[in-house]
């Protein structure tokens, strides 16, 4: 959210009456349909905007939809710039770029993704789209130019880009020029020729000048249109036209000065006064002018000025907002600075107050700063802060605060701490500690207590916020500690923050709870982490920060899954999505997509591949832009696991590589690093050398102290050791694996990590089997299966493939074997593509079809089977066709083999 957009910025200006047709330039512009970029580059007053609006009004855009955007200095914020661009495009093509707009609404907006989405949408556009960016010279931020360059480099043929600018933009113009992809209209092209000057002066301006006078004016102004306009205005109603022109032509004075003075001198005193005083305004409207001038004729004066053609440009059809022609505004402002320098600050203050009352805090602040009143600007920021936070406009807030001098922040603890928050959000921790110390020192009394009321030497506007400052300071200290990997410090400061946070400050409590939770989680204290996050969610819910509630829910789900509680994890995600739950009516809420990724992960663990696939599809439908920062990487990880379960190991590898590229931790500890996942996949693909290299890089050894943070890597290392043993027949590798697993088991049991316990037991079973210790192997596996059954774990077993299948088969023959063993066996023996068939097709096969399938496995031929079942041969054919289709086979033999693999019919042929 970036606050209200000004619709006048993306409104195509209507052509002004009485302008001169410019056929030669229209020809030039026509070439734009074959070009990537068109630039109109010339100083102010060369008629760039007029040329474009007239050309467009004459329908010369060849049926392309036209979007217009007038830029201003605030558009140097990339988020705002692209929001305006997309909004402008939507005026041309309704509904265009909705996804990009949603991305832009997140904080901070992922600009790269925005641009990629835009290009994608442009690519699918059936019509041509012409985008004009007027006043592009006002853009100075490299980030915006980089984005524009990216668009130019990938520009789909549907898009025609037109920039009107006073200076050549830092875009790859030379390259485009060399490739003949650039249309340029420059000052030399834009200036009026003698014929055009005559057409203008004697046409719409009705001056009736002689050829000689026109030539003199044209020569003196060098065809500069703004100067000719001023000249025409000065000439209107004059008797001594030729004398005036002669005097003007023989003078060295700056043309604009000379002519504007002429124009100004002929205005009544009150109009002149009005023009000077309102020259501090970027945009004008009646009541605002009244506030600034202290008069009551604002609206009437504006209407009169426009009628007199006094360089006033209407910004909307209803004639509510105007601006002065840039050049004229500068002249007026220079006069003001020269004649009434003492008034300038006061005029800005009045404008600032008017905008404050009008509700445009951004303009109010901007005028306060232009008037040199940083104190007022800071006051306004402090007042606006709660609303800005609620509307997630922290980035804008941060820019405002960044423009304040450091001294101002030093005496304003509330703003100072908020600025620290902005720095922390941007991961810019360099000065955070020092700033917090300074603020605390400025507040604490000599006896070390926090004064109830702010001490006299500091300025506090927002008293409520003052009370929460001690908690906020500790909270940011915790964030700083976390950023420097000081976990003990994080927990200490976060607990301190929790104890200091006022009960009615849910946000402070929530943030401190999350930090404490994060630190507890990182150290492996799962119950502590769960309790802290639950507290945090309660705070966030009551503060209305629903997207953050979902962010914490991801963590809660992770914790439950690590604890081995799949059912609870699933319920956690589901509850968060409940439409009657925390965030009614907001749809789709950012973070919902992440809940689906979480559910897909759990369902995958249970080998419910089709349900997992569905949740991934829902995630995709909601879009990455509706995901939290971790979504891109998490969704790819789950997708990779799905592809792996389906037997496509190449796809799985590609997805993991992608996941690594888009990894974003979002402060969460990286407990399942993507490189370790890839090492596991490499092992499954038989690429042991790759996994060895990974282990070397990570400096892993079986003798490491088992910590929670490295548990996943150590479990991967155990698999590597088993593979090494298989490959090299080295008993030492097996011993190492067993020793490592023993240590991991103890640690996992102590930390209450149920999922890890099962995984260790599975690996122990495999290790014992490799060491030909069948009883130990079966004992470990039996324990694993018993623990896995209640929560329905399957893939922890199935992923281990053939050796696990053999073990499970042996276990299934034991008298005490549970039903879960058979389920696991089925899933494990049908690894690869079979697994997906299993999950998808077991249910759809009807009882009757199963009967047919059983008979197909015997020796009877078709007619005999039909007789056996008392059906016609045709009906039998219908059944078999349906069975073949469901199993994805085309012959009786293949169907029987498949059915046996899936344990649909007894496997008597294999021994």
């Amino acid at each position: 959210m970036l606050g209200p957009l000004l619709s006048s910025k993306y409104r195509l200006p209507s052509p002004r009456p009485g302008s001169v047709p410019r056929q030669r330039l229209a020809e030039r512009l026509r070439a734009m349909s074959q070009s990537t970029l068109t630039i109109l580059s010339a100083p102010a007053g060369f008629g760039k905007t007029t040329l474009l609006t007239e050309w467009l009004a004459a329908g010369c855009a060849d049926g392309a939809a036209v979007a217009w955007l007038s830029l201003d200095r605030r558009d140097n914020d990339p988020a705002l710039f692209w929001t305006y661009v997309v909004t402008a495009l939507q005026t041309a093509v309704p509904g265009f770029g909705d996804a990009a707009l949603q991305l832009l609404a997140s904080s901070p907006p992922p600009i790269d993704a925005v641009l990629a989405t835009l290009l994608n949408d442009l690519d699918g556009l059936p019509t041509d789209l012409l985008l004009v960016l007027d006043d592009y010279h006002l853009v100075e931020t490299p980030e915006v130019h980089e984005g524009m360059t990216f668009i130019l480099e990938h520009q789909p043929p549907q898009l025609r880009l037109v920039l009107a600018t006073r200076a050549d933009p830092p875009l790859p113009l030379a390259q485009l020029r060399a490739r003949g992809r650039l249309v340029e209209v420059r000052a030399a092209d834009l200036r009026f020729t003698a014929e055009e000057a005559a057409a203008y002066l004697n046409g719409p301006m009705r001056l009736g000048l002689s050829d000689h006078d026109v030539a003199a004016l044209e020569a003196r102004t060098e065809g500069w249109i703004a100067a000719l306009q001023l000249a025409a205005l000065s000439l209107q109603g004059r008797e001594d036209v030729s004398v005036f022109i002669a005097g003007f032509a023989g003078d060295d004075r700056y043309i604009v000065d000379y002519l504007a003075e002429e124009v100004l001198a002929r205005q009544p005193a009150d109009v002149r006064e009005f023009l000077l005083q309102t020259s501090v305004l970027e945009r004008l409207t009646g009541p605002l002018c009244d506030a600034v001038t202290g008069r009551e004729d604002g609206k009437a004066t504006l209407v009169a000025l426009e009628r007199a053609n006094l360089f006033l440009v209407p910004l909307d059809d209803r004639r509510q907002w105007y601006r002065y022609h840039h050049l004229f505004a500068d002249v007026l402002h220079a006069h003001l600075l020269d004649e009434r320098p003492e008034q300038v600050a006061e005029l800005h203050r009045r404008a600032s107050e008017w905008f404050q009352a009008y509700g445009d805090t951004s303009q109010a602040i901007s005028h306060a700063q232009a008037g040199g009143d940083t104190g007022r600007a800071a006051d306004l920021m402090e007042i606006a802060m709660p609303v800005m936070r609620r509307e997630r406009r922290e980035a804008e807030l941060a820019r405002w605060m960044g423009a304040l001098p450091d001294e101002e922040l030093r005496t304003r603890p509330v703003l100072g701490v908020a600025f620290v928050g902005a720095l922390a959000q941007a991961s810019d921790f360099d000065t955070v500690g020092e700033r917090l110390d300074q603020i605390e020192a400025s507040l604490r009394s000599a006896d070390g207590t926090w004064p109830e009321q702010p001490p006299p030497h500091v300025i506090v506007v927002d008293q409520d916020n003052y009370r929460a400052l001690p908690a906020h300071i500790e909270m940011y200290r915790a964030a700083l500690a976390l950023a420097t990997a000081d976990l003990a410090g994080t927990i200490t400061h976060a607990r301190e923050a929790l104890s200091l946070a006022p009960q009615d400050e849910p946000l402070a409590r929530a943030a401190a709870g999350a930090l404490a939770g994060l630190a507890s989680w990182t150290t492996g204290d799962l119950p502590g982490a769960h309790a802290a996050y639950t507290e945090s969610i309660a705070g966030l819910t009551s503060a209305g920060f629903f997207a953050d509630v979902l962010g914490c829910t991801i963590t809660l789900g992770d914790i439950r899954r690590t604890q081995g509680q799949l059912t609870t994890a699933l319920r956690t995600y589901q509850q968060a999505l409940d439409p009657t739950g925390p965030a009614p009516g907001i749809e789709p809420l950012r973070g919902m997509a992440d809940m689906h990724v979480g559910m897909a992960g759990v369902l995958l663990e249970r080998n419910d591949l089709s349900a997992a696939r569905e949740h991934l599809a829902t995630n995709q439908r909601l879009g990455e832009h509706n995901g939290l920062p971790q979504n891109p990487y998490r969704s790819r990880v789950v997708k990779a696991r799905l592809r792996e379960a389906e037997g496509d190991l190449d796809d799985a590898l590609a997805l993991l590589n992608e996941a690594e590229r888009v990894y974003a931790g979002d402060y969460a500890p990286n407990v399942q690093p993507v490189p370790a996942m890839r090492a596991r996949l490499r092992l499954r693909r038989g690429e042991v050398a790759h996994a060895e290299e990974w282990a070397r890089e990570r400096q892993l050894s079986a003798g490491d102290e088992p910590t929670y943070l490295r548990e996943y890597e150590h479990l991967t290392l155990a698999r590597l050791l088993l593979a090494r043993h298989r490959l090299e027949r080295a008993p030492s590798a097996l011993e190492e694996a067993l020793r490592l697993l023993e240590a991991l088991l103890t640690a996992a049991e102590r930390g209450g990590r149920g999922a890890s316990v099962i995984e260790v037991l599975v690996l122990q079973a495999l290790a014992h089997e490799a060491g030909r210790n069948a009883p130990a192997a079966l004992a470990a596996l039996h324990r694993a299966v018993t623990l896995a059954q209640p929560e329905g774990y399957v893939r922890l077993f199935a992923d281990e493939g053939t050796p696990m299948a053999a073990l499970l088969k042996a276990l299934s023959k034991q008298p005490a074997a549970s039903t879960h063993v058979r389920r696991l066996l089925a899933a494990t023996t049908t690894a690869g593509t079979h697994a997906s068939i299993l999950s998808e097709l077991i249910d759809p096969l009807s009882e009757r079809e199963l009967d047919v399938l059983r008979l197909l496995g015997g020796d009877l031929d078709g007619p005999d089977i039909a007789r056996e079942l008392s059906v016609s041969l045709n009906t039998l054919r219908t059944h078999t066709k349906s069975i073949y289709a469901k199993l994805g086979v085309s012959s009786r033999r293949a169907a029987v083999r498949q059915a046996r693999d899936l344990n649909l019919i007894p496997g008597q042929r294999h021994s």
């Binding site: 043309i255 050049l327 220079a334 020269d338």
Partner: protein
């Protein structure tokens, strides 16, 4: 303390003085617009804008102001060493 005009690293913060020449006579009233620099109208029809410039980005800001007014730039010259003399000589 010596003021070396050339070979200066861009980091040196001391403000330089610049002499910027433009086409046309610009009235002295524009002095405040150009942050208090001195405007001198020359006989050859140009104007010299002269004064301290904090750094390169301030100089570019000045160019932008000139460009906004459509004032054609003739030359830009750093004028080191004059700082002291200028202060005493300039009564305004």
């Amino acid at each position: 303390m010596t003021d070396v005009p050339t070979g200066r690293t861009p980091n040196v913060p001391a403000p330089e003085r610049y002499e910027i020449r433009i086409t046309g006579h610009l009235a002295p009233r524009w002095a405040n617009w150009f942050d208090g620099m001195t405007l001198t109208q020359k006989d050859d029809g140009t104007t010299v804008i002269h004064g301290p410039v904090a750094d390169q980005s301030a100089l570019h800001g000045l160019f932008r102001k000139l460009s906004d007014l459509g004032l054609p730039l003739v030359s830009v010259t750093p004028t080191p060493g004059e700082a002291a003399a200028d202060h005493t000589a300039d009564p305004s």
